[in-house]
């Protein structure tokens, strides 16, 4: 028999003999095929995160299982299994992702999931594989939460469910398509309840700490050396999206501050400040409200406009005026922020901070140091000095480029400023900060993103990695911290119109294909990408970004007061409604179709009569039924004759034309008879 399990053909001599595995416990062929396809689908997305040998394990197991099925190979012996398991554990250990990292756990899960395939003998084993499949689908979301992946996982889910469905079907159901259809139907029927649970079920804090994926995410880091930001422009990955409540500020106003690099060490800048601002600024007039949907960064810093605060429970303001999250951002993080007007009287900075913000390496870049001292002596105020520096950049042949020459050694800034004279934003900002600090003026490097692209479809702002930017701030007792962007002097287009306008054609050509499409070289591709982005944005806004904060707000709006009892009642009502809708749809699909109005009327009549004990047999025609009932009750021919004739004519004589009037007359006759019978029986 074609659908017989492989156990029949290839009995395992070592464990249960073939006869012991009864037909009832065998895995049908259909299930096996679906299970293998489903397993492949489940493992496939892990390719991005896990090392390639795990896929090899999966392929190997698939091949083995196929050969078992064909009767060529045997089930693995016990020692073979032991060796395989040990090899997989060793493999995970050797991959070197950390013993208790999420990657290691997922690798272990996926490899064991694959190995279970060749061990699987009876139905119980198949169920284990199926539940592992569900688990693996869920685990994948710890790594990524994009829309495409979610859609893909729905497909995997249906495949795995189809395997389970087929496991419970008769052996004769050897085709996978009906099982798939049923599984898809089941999934569709689960949608209403899923929605209700998604909206209402409390987002609980995890009971244990999940090990987090390692940081292999592109983005700004807390230390910057010349060239780091330029590398980021190679990536078109999304950094974050912003929804602005009100008019979108112009590009030159969109400085998204992320990190403040205050410490100068070993020729590079470091951002270390994590302390909370002690005196939280009093509520000032609100300038702009916006909401940021930050892509996972695995870091704690957030991006915000200058002078912004947030009321999010997990977000706080740091001493250097940035927003920071209490926990690393592992999935899309959604926070509202408010930009305030600039304070009238700036807060003074402490001596400790003044020292930190003026520290330079006294031995590095001597020429810049000398220039800084000369400039302050000449111009007096920090503002005048800044103006002079920017003028010099404008006047002299400085160039803005993605691929500047490398400036080696301790005196790299000297090399850039006096000899190379071509660099990216961080070169100009670094040199500027160095000049200011040499003059004893507190100044610091700021990293973040500048500009971003507005998606016209949904009106949100997309900020990508290639929008990464570095600029500077100096401190003036009257102005407070004041933003200076030396890049604006060398390449004003960068600030006003974005990266593509500022780059030379050679630089543009060096960008990856997608980036250049996004930057706007191809209109069609660009608009498709923008459309996809707006879909993804809504997904983030409504699904991924639906965290406990948003949920609490929504529940507050819906229920008035959020407490356990109300949430419980809401889940009960919502779940009941959801299931009710599904039940209605199912019953609606199964309702008998009475196309003929007379048949419908008569059926209602006969069903009503069944309640009084006059049950119509299926083979009784309407006329025969009425006659029988009339005979039983003892009605005279004159009382039912017209009705019988009418029923006969309207139902079966197409030669007689009739309309709504005849139908109504018939209905009222039926009602009268029904009434008479009901009355007769109660008496």
């Amino acid at each position: 028999m074609a659908s017989a399990d492989a156990t029949v053909r290839a009995p395992d001599a070592e464990t249960a003999p073939a006869a012991a595995v009864g037909v009832a416990h065998q895995i049908p062929r259909n299930t096996l095929a679906l299970l293998m396809v489903g397993q492949t689908a489940v493992i496939l997305p892990y390719l991005q995160q896990l090392s390639i040998w795990i896929v090899a394990v999966g392929l190997f197991c698939g091949m083995w299982r196929t050969n078992i099925y064909l009767g060529r190979w045997d089930y693995p012996k016990r020692w073979v299994k032991a060796v395989l398991v040990a090899a997989c554990i060793a493999g995970v250990a050797l991959t070197g992702v950390g013993a208790f990292s999420l990657e290691a756990m997922a690798s272990l899960l996926v490899s064991m999931f694959a190995l279970k395939l060749i061990e699987m003998k009876n139905r119980r084993d198949a169920y284990v594989v199926i539940f592992l499949g569900y688990f693996a689908i869920a685990i994948q979301f710890l790594f990524e939460q994009q829309l495409l992946l979610a859609l893909y996982q729905v497909g995997s889910f249906i495949l795995v469910t189809a395997a389970m469905v087929s496991l419970n079907q008769l052996q004769v159901a050897a085709r996978p398509l009906p099982s798939l259809k049923l599984a898809a139907l089941l999934a569709a029927q689960a949608i209403p309840l899923t929605l209700v649970m998604f909206l209402l079920f409390p987002r609980m804090a995890p009971l244990w700490t999940v090990p987090l994926p390692g940081s292999s995410v592109t983005g700004l880091s807390d230390s910057v050396r010349p060239g780091d930001v330029a590398n980021l422009t190679q990536s078109d990955e999304l950094a974050f999206r912003v929804v602005v409540n009100g008019p979108m500020p112009p590009p030159s106003q969109r400085y998204w501050r992320g990190l403040v690099y205050s410490d100068f060490e070993d020729g590079g800048w470091k951002a270390r400040e994590r302390r909370r601002a002690r005196d939280y600024p009093l509520p000032r007039s609100t300038d702009l409200e916006y909401e940021v949907l930050l892509e996972p960064t695995m870091q704690t810093w957030l991006y915000a406009l200058e002078h912004s605060t947030s009321v999010h429970s997990n977000v706080y303001l740091t001493l250097d005026g940035r927003l920071e999250s209490s926990d690393p951002i592992m999935s899309v993080f959604r926070y509202r922020a408010v930009r305030h007007d600039k304070p009238d009287s700036p807060a003074p900075i402490s001596e400790q901070i003044r020292i930190r913000e003026t520290t330079i390496d006294p031995e590095a870049n001597p020429r810049l140091q000398a220039l800084g001292r000369a400039l302050i002596a000449e111009h007096g105020t920090p503002m005048a000095m800044t103006r002079e520096i920017l003028n010099r950049i404008r006047r002299e042949p400085y160039a803005y480029t993605l691929s500047p020459p490398t400036y080696p050694g301790r005196d790299a800034f000297d090399g850039f400023w006096f000899e190379g004279r071509s660099g990216f934003c961080e070169h100009y900002a670094s040199a500027y900060v160095y000049l200011m600090r040499s003059a004893g003026i507190p100044a610091r490097l700021v990293g973040g993103y500048l500009g971003g692209e507005v998606n016209e479809l949904s009106g949100h702002l997309m900020v990508r990695q290639y929008d990464a930017h570095a600029w500077a701030e100096f401190y003036d007792p009257e102005l407070g911290w004041f933003r200076v962007d030396p890049t604006a002097a060398v390449a004003p287009q960068r600030v006003e119109r974005g990266l593509s306008a500022a780059l030379s054609s050679a630089d543009l050509a060096s960008l990856p294909l997608l980036s250049s499409a996004r930057i706007g070289n191809w209109d069609l591709a660009g608009s498709v990408l923008r459309w996809m982005d707006s879909v993804e944005h809504r997904w983030n806004l409504w699904v991924v970004g639906y965290d406990s904060n948003v949920q609490y707000r929504l529940l507050g709006d819906l229920l008035g007061e959020v407490n356990a009892a109300r949430i419980g009642i809401a889940i009960l009502i919502g779940g009941g409604l959801g299931l009710g809708v599904v039940a209605l749809v199912i019953f609606w699909g199964r309702r008998p179709v009475h196309r003929h109005p007379v048949e419908r009327a008569f059926r209602g009549f006969s069903e009503a009569l069944a309640a009084y004990g006059y049950v119509r047999r299926p083979e009784e025609s309407p006329a025969a039924f009425v006659r029988r009932v009339a005979d039983e009750v003892g009605l005279k021919e004159a009382q039912v004759g017209p009705l019988i004739a009418e029923l006969d004519t309207l139902l079966y004589n197409p030669g007689v034309a009739w309309g709504g009037r005849e139908l109504r007359a018939l209905r009222s006759q039926l009602r009268r008879l029904q009434f008479r019978l009901a009355f007769g029986t109660t008496r």
Binding site: R595, S606, A623, N653
Partner: protein, 284 residues
Amino acid sequence: MKLALACLLARGHLLIEDLPGMGKTLLSHALARVLGLTYNRIQFTSDVLPSDIIGTAIFDRERGDFRFIEGPLFAQVVLADEINRATPKSQSALLEAMEERQVTAEGVTRPLPEPFFVIATQNPSTQTGTFPLPESQLDRFLMRIELGYPDPEAERELLRGGDRRQVLGRIEPVLDLEGLSHLQALVDEIKVSEPLIEYVQRLVAYSRRGADFAFGLSPRGSLALLQSARAWALLQDRSHVVPEDVQAVLPGVVEHRLREAADYTGHGGGALAQKLLTSVDVVG
């Protein structure tokens, strides 16, 4: 009897099945006489050959040519007596004749006379020395009827009277060719309403879906059912078909077309027809 008449009015072939001595041959004889049509009788035995039925070409010495001698099939009413005693080979000679109303012999296709009826009689195939008719052949009979034992009243009459064959000789044709074709045309004019067609469809669908049925009714089966019901309605003097007409002809039309899934030998047709009747709702 009435069913047999309805069958002929519906232009269908009739299969009469019962035990020997129940009056099958007599009935078919009588039918042919009443209708006043040309009439041939073929007595099937196991050594009847197709050429015995269709006819054969023999060499005509005078003309120096082959001449086709028409077999007994070339008549308006053919009584195929004891059809299941013939070998399958000869049975199948009737196949083309019954459906296409033409025969092909010696490479020449010849039309059969109009109208053309086959009335076949057979003994139940459990009787010794019979060849069960194949499904393809059975399907070509519009109806299969059983005569059953006569009721006591009729049997007493039977026993009192003399030889029934003599009665046969006294039967006068009551119809001529024109009268018959007029009646047949009337059958086609009997009206059928949508709900009734749906009822027939439900019956057919049930036979195709039901677990007890080895296979369902063919489209030819459903057509036959409706056409017989029309003829029955005409005999009831009604201008349209009602469910009772369908139910009256249903056993005759479907019994020989159905097989039980559990017992493929073909003796469950009657039970299946009853199941159809009692399971399928008249009202949609």
